[in-house]
């Protein structure tokens, strides 16, 4: 039995939910995916607010739920800290009263002291502690909700879209709070979010979900470099995705093979790329392939046509603060779209209509089974 978190769920009703989620003690896991993907349902199963049709929940060596064994612990017996999306603070109680509610088993005087300690810990001033939730800002309410979850001495901390109702200015402070908590708590933390930037910023590992299904889990770096399917690539926001034909290795160099970029018939416009063969794809089949943004660089025009270099035309340029988004058309396979996000000096002087070349680091090309267009 793992010392961290294990959630296994198999159910069709009331909504389909399938998958296995694991986290080590002290690890921060981000559940990402579109709304309706089942992220919150997974949290509810972990917290004991929803009983799955089939499944298990184990935390810190304890079994909280095992449907096959008929074992079920209600939330009261789980020592789980859950920060709700809209905080779910008791409107009739002060911040202090809200946190003290988690400490009912303690003597009254100790309750107040302990609640004040937790509120101070998350950065709430003495004056604010006596206010009711409606008199606090979104960010302050969020801190109260976190303090309430911590006061429970949780073996598992669950955060359900905790930043969705907080403005950008206050998010930075809350990100720091979460980062601090990670260091001091040695329990698994699960964060539900649909903000990929947030997930990459905070999480040790991502769990990508869609339509009630866990699609892939791994470090943000890994998921972005090697999405398992085209759907995962879409969900983690990989902008550049194309289709091609995987020929497979030619026997000359193990671990490498040929990818034909263009139609399956291999017309004149098709280009053959020498890319990594991870051994997961059988040869001679249509594939989807991606390449991470940082494996694409701008190059001199005269390099076009050399290995991994393509001529391109700039279609549109959008400067947004410190970054620039450019859409280009690559002169390959009848013209393929490419989106670039640039932040360095090279972004200046880029303008629509310009001809240039881009270089791909072909070792970073990642192949996936082809998903039907749609």
């Amino acid at each position: 039995m793992s010392a961290g978190l294990l959630i296994e769920v198999e159910q069709q009703r009331p909504m389909p939910l399938h998958g296995r989620i694991e986290a080590a003690p002290g690890e921060l896991l981000a559940l990402v995916g579109p709304s309706g993907a089942g992220k919150t349902s997974m949290l509810r199963v972990a917290a004991g607010l929803m009983k799955p049709q089939q499944g298990r929940v184990q935390v810190g060596g304890e079994t909280w739920c095992d449907v096959a064994q008929g074992l079920w612990r209600p939330p009261q017996q789980r020592h789980v800290g859950l920060v709700f999306q809209h905080y779910a603070l008791m409107p009739h109680l002060s911040a202090l009263g809200n946190v003290a509610l988690s400490l009912l088993q303690r003597p009254r005087a100790e309750r107040e002291r302990e609640a004040a300690r937790w509120l101070a810990h998350v950065g709430l001033t003495d004056e604010l502690m006596h206010r009711r939730p409606a008199q606090l800002s979104g960010g302050q309410q969020q801190r109260v909700a976190v303090a309430r979850a911590l006061a429970r001495a949780p073996r598992l901390l669950l955060l359900d879209e905790p930043f969705s109702a907080v403005d950008m200015m206050n998010r930075q402070g809350l990100y720091r709070l979460i980062a601090d908590l990670r260091r001091e708590l040695s329990v698994p933390i699960v964060l539900v979010t649909h903000d990929l930037h947030e997930a990459r910023l905070l999480a040790d590992r991502l769990v990508v979900m869609d339509a009630g299904q866990v699609l892939q889990a791994g470090t943000p770096e890994f998921v972005h470099r090697a999405p398992r399917t085209a759907r995962v690539a879409d969900l983690v926001g990989i902008a550049n995705r194309w289709t091609g034909w995987w020929e497979g290795g030619d026997g000359t160099e193990p671990g490498w093979g040929w990818l034909r970029w263009g139609d399956a018939a291999g017309g004149d416009a098709a280009v053959r790329l020498r890319v990594r063969d991870k051994g997961r794809m059988s040869p001679n089949r249509a594939v989807t392939f991606v390449i991470p943004g940082d494996a694409i660089t701008l190059a001199d025009t005269h390099m076009a046509g050399q290995d991994g270099h393509f001529a391109a035309q700039v279609d549109a340029v959008r400067h947004q603060g410190e970054i620039t988004m450019a859409s280009l058309t690559l002169a390959v396979a009848g013209g393929q779209p490419l989106v670039l996000t640039l932040s360095g000096r090279e972004r200046r002087g880029l303008q629509a209509g310009q001809a240039l070349a881009v270089a791909f680091d072909l070792a970073q090309v990642h192949l996936m089974p082809l998903r039907p267009a749609g």
Binding site: A47, G48, L49, P74, P75, Q76, R78, V80, G81, L82, F84, H86, A88, L89, M90, P91, H92, L101, S102, L104, Q105, R132, A134, Q135, R148, A149, R152
Partner: protein, 223 residues
């Protein structure tokens, strides 16, 4: 002349009705607010029924169900607690007649509490009873208060069902509304006038006080 005995009897009836109906209304109202059961529409319809039926129809069925000829009525009569033409019978009728006035506001009050508060309470370690006492009742309190006042005032002014079930026995079943009716029948308009005024003022005062309190409570809970 005000029939003080009738007024006191009405106040007693209203108080006893509240005592019986409060726990019943809380339990039923909260259950209706939370149950996912689909058949609850039928229960809700039954709850509203006393509101839409003429008091005479309700009184008639109560007579049939609890009169001396019915098994239930006979049982209670044998125990020395006849359910017709007695104070006990009035209480029973009054409780049934007031169910919608109690249950509906209570149900609305519990429905208005966001569902995630109870879940947050459970995750904070609160049992069902603790959640009820520390979270739900304080939040539902304005609604419960208005249910109490409505029921109280409605019982004071109850006429049709009382007449059917209780008749007009002084000190036993002759409530203020019946007394007013008696005075009018006896052409003592001055007496009827004064008692009507007392009832009017009492009702107005109670309802106004409850509105005032509800507004303040609700504002306090949001502040």
């Amino acid at each position: 002349m005000v029939d003080w005995q009738a007024l006191i009897l009405s106040l007693e009836l209203a108080a006893v009705t509240l005592l019986v109906l409060l726990p019943l209304g809380l339990a039923l109202g909260r259950w209706l607010a939370r149950t996912p059961w689909r058949g609850k529409a039928w229960i809700e319809a039954l709850v509203v029924l006393p509101l839409v039926l003429p008091p005479t129809v309700l009184g008639y069925y109560l007579l049939v169900a609890f009169g001396g000829a019915s098994p239930l009525g006979k049982l209670f009569a044998d125990l020395g607690l006849p359910l017709t033409f007695s104070f006990g019978g009035l209480v029973l009728a009054s409780v049934i007649f007031n169910i919608p006035f109690m249950v509906q506001p209570v149900q609305r009050a519990f429905e208005a509490i966001p569902r995630d508060l109870a879940e947050a309470a459970a995750c904070s370690g609160l049992g069902a009873w603790q959640t009820l006492v520390r979270v739900e009742l304080p939040l539902a309190w304005p609604g419960i208060l208005s249910a109490l006042v409505l029921t109280f005032v409605h019982t004071l002014g109850e006429f049709g069902v009382v007449l059917m079930m209780g008749g007009s026995i002084p000190g036993e079943t002759k409530t203020i509304a019946i007394a007013i009716y008696d005075r009018v029948q006896a052409f003592d308009l001055a007496g009827a006038d004064r008692m009507a005024l007392v009832l009017l003022l009492l009702s107005l005062l109670a309802v106004a006080a409850s509105f005032f309190a509800t507004t303040r409570l609700t504002a306090a809970a949001r502040r």
